[in-house]
Symmetry: C2
Subunit: 483 residues, 2 copies
Amino acid sequence: LSESIKPPGLDYIFHPGSTAVVGTVPDSLSRFKLGNQFVRILLENGYKDPLYAVGSGEGEVCGLKIYQSILDIPSKVDYVITAIPNQFVPQLVEDCGRKGVKVMHFFTSGFGEIEDKIGLELQSQMLASARKYGIRIIGPNCMGIYCPESNLAFGMGFSKVSGRVGYLAQSGGQCIMGVKEANRRGIDFSKVVSYGNASDINECDLIEYFTEDPGTDIITAYIEGTNHGPRLLRALKEAVARKPVIVFKCADTGGGSQAAVSHTSAIAGSSLTWDALLRQTGAIRVFSVQEMFDVVTVLQRCPEISGLNTLVVGHGGGSCVQASDDCCRAGLAMPMLPPVLRQALMKVYRTDAGNIFKNPLDINPYWGMDKAREALSAVEGWQGIDLILLHSTPEQDPFVPRDFQYKVHTETLIEWARLTRKPVALAITTNTAPGDDGLPEKAFNQAQEAGLAVFPSVGRASTALLRAYNYYRRRRRANQGST
Amino acid sequence: LSESIKPPGLDYIFHPGSTAVVGTVPDSLSRFKLGNQFVRILLENGYKDPLYAVGSGEGEVCGLKIYQSILDIPSKVDYVITAIPNQFVPQLVEDCGRKGVKVMHFFTSGFGEIEDKIGLELQSQMLASARKYGIRIIGPNCMGIYCPESNLAFGMGFSKVSGRVGYLAQSGGQCIMGVKEANRRGIDFSKVVSYGNASDINECDLIEYFTEDPGTDIITAYIEGTNHGPRLLRALKEAVARKPVIVFKCADTGGGSQAAVSHTSAIAGSSLTWDALLRQTGAIRVFSVQEMFDVVTVLQRCPEISGLNTLVVGHGGGSCVQASDDCCRAGLAMPMLPPVLRQALMKVYRTDAGNIFKNPLDINPYWGMDKAREALSAVEGWQGIDLILLHSTPEQDPFVPRDFQYKVHTETLIEWARLTRKPVALAITTNTAPGDDGLPEKAFNQAQEAGLAVFPSVGRASTALLRAYNYYRRRRRANQGST
């Protein structure tokens, strides 16, 4: 047990005692120079350990003196962020080796991913030199490390709160978009690594790290390709045995693979191979960062899912029909409400329209909370369902003003969700171009702040529930097998 | 030719000379009574012909005197909107018959769609009585008619502008949501009918009407089920021979069918049967109102699509990989840019990173419009592509402030779109909970107002392009066949 508490081998890269950014110019010349931006973002993010700027020209970056060389810095430097043209990289790695640097991150591109073979040569040269000095490399061609715990970050407005999700991403853009997607949905990270060309530290290293990391409960990954098939298979299997792993494997089609070669030089591999590989390991496969954090939302905000029998609750005839279709099409099941429960609901609502209480349940938010409480507590005991899927379509009401409509629907469905101990998800469906009154966003955020698992459509909610269920089922079977 | 100019048989239902709303109470008692709401919405929508309120109690609705009976109204009444409990309907139909009413719309529910057989009996009785007097019935259990030309409407904030799209919808909620979805996306309607239980005027009547209607260029339909299979097949075939028809067939799964029976008493039919039926007719099948107006967007905002070879243009490695995947997965093709064109682009951008000019093209919006103009005019002449798909992911930039990022991306991509005469679509991908600054909505609207076909994801754009292509291909083949 004490072993599992010991931080895994790569942990030191997330906690450098000091950092230097190479590739800055005086702010008086340009505040938009990429090196300068890295410095600014580290400071905005509250980076507390010694921070140094290295670059050309006399002057300051955000109040920091610019050193002409890493070797001029008077103290030790653990971590170096590199934003200089590729041809200056070999000399820099030599200098860093002599300085005792432990980790270098290369934002710099123009290595293995370009067509000209000079790129690949530079990459080999850089690697050989780094190995000589025992320096670990992140990238090149990537964004580096985001770790709230040590105030390392590479994007504006990233959350400063530490969470329980680890994220590794071969693409810088998808990494940033993923962090923003997650933060907006109330999800925080333990550590995030944008690892680009994976010349040294690669997807296997990171998955192995996150598997051991006691600060990480869920592993998420954006991967374009790998050069380490068998090791990745092993790493994923071991990871899944310990915690859920969600993989957004991109470069899955002809066009996508074409794009990936140019992007990170990744050999994308065939879609079928990857599908088989991910299935074997039990990793959850998704097709966008949005879907990735849909699954995290379910894992973090719902209790364990033990089955797929779903009760669909919302208001409106057409809305209920579509919600049921979308739910079933995604792979969930909708058993019929037993007659005795239908009778109970008809009594609560004093109506003979028993058809609207079959599953889906069509309950009007304007019918009041007391009745809803009575109705939902009547079905709560029903063993026939494992999940509750609430759906809200505030745009479907003809008469009520939009703001009132959103308010009533959202508040009511949040209350309904509170009435059950079963796993529950809420889908709020709005128009594609929802207008400039901010109401859909407000409704989404309100439900999310109330702790609910919220989704922009029944299809997205259902798919996320199914994927989480598949993970739990596999885990239950593995646990049974091991006892 | 003169025949085609003659308005089709049902046209009079959209142009009543006078309207009465039955089921009102004095505003002093309740402004929220449903009858009162219909009156208010007609007035808000600028209804200009004589309008009467019928109901109980002395007083006024929005300044209109309340008549106790339709028979008390001193002038003729063409159209009656009914919002009274079902048990009073038989008497009302008799009164309307004697009054010479031509069309009745029943918001009222509690007919064929409820379990109790009293509902079905009431519906038969109502129909028999209506037939005796030659009254046509819309519904029951629906929202009725929206026709900007004659200022008839049933929802708040519907566009007052006449357009070229006809919409028939079995569900009131899906009808309202569809109108809002369309309006927000710059799409206006010729006529819209929410037809509910279809006891008299049904989906076949309406499709036949829209087929003949010279004001309607595109027919859209939300259908849960039909009792007129062979006639619907014929009607759809004839419609598709004249104009594009887009069908959102709901109640497609076990759960959905369960829901549909209770909603509009529709016999949903099996998913396979419907799929076969729609394929045979050449109608375009979609799975939500959002997807429905995605297709309308392509039909209205792009020139005819003659092939599926697509050039994907946007910025960012990961973004390009995903856009390519989503494009290919939807069924579009991405041919490689010929070497001579790649050379040309590398010259424009003075870079040796030729990989980023293969297809997808990875072009940074910050590289400037002059170069983009040069680059895009170089590929414009390439016969290898039929379509251009632009994608924008403003959330992927780490350094630039959000507002500036959205501004540059959106303005640049609008300009790029202007540089081509090929069919072009723009996908703006944002986070699920995009925050409260309104920037994603603003970008969407800005591109839309510039005339572009805009979508919230590459997948949605690609699917809509494919569906429109399938329609055009079929039409070209039919035209070849007939010459």
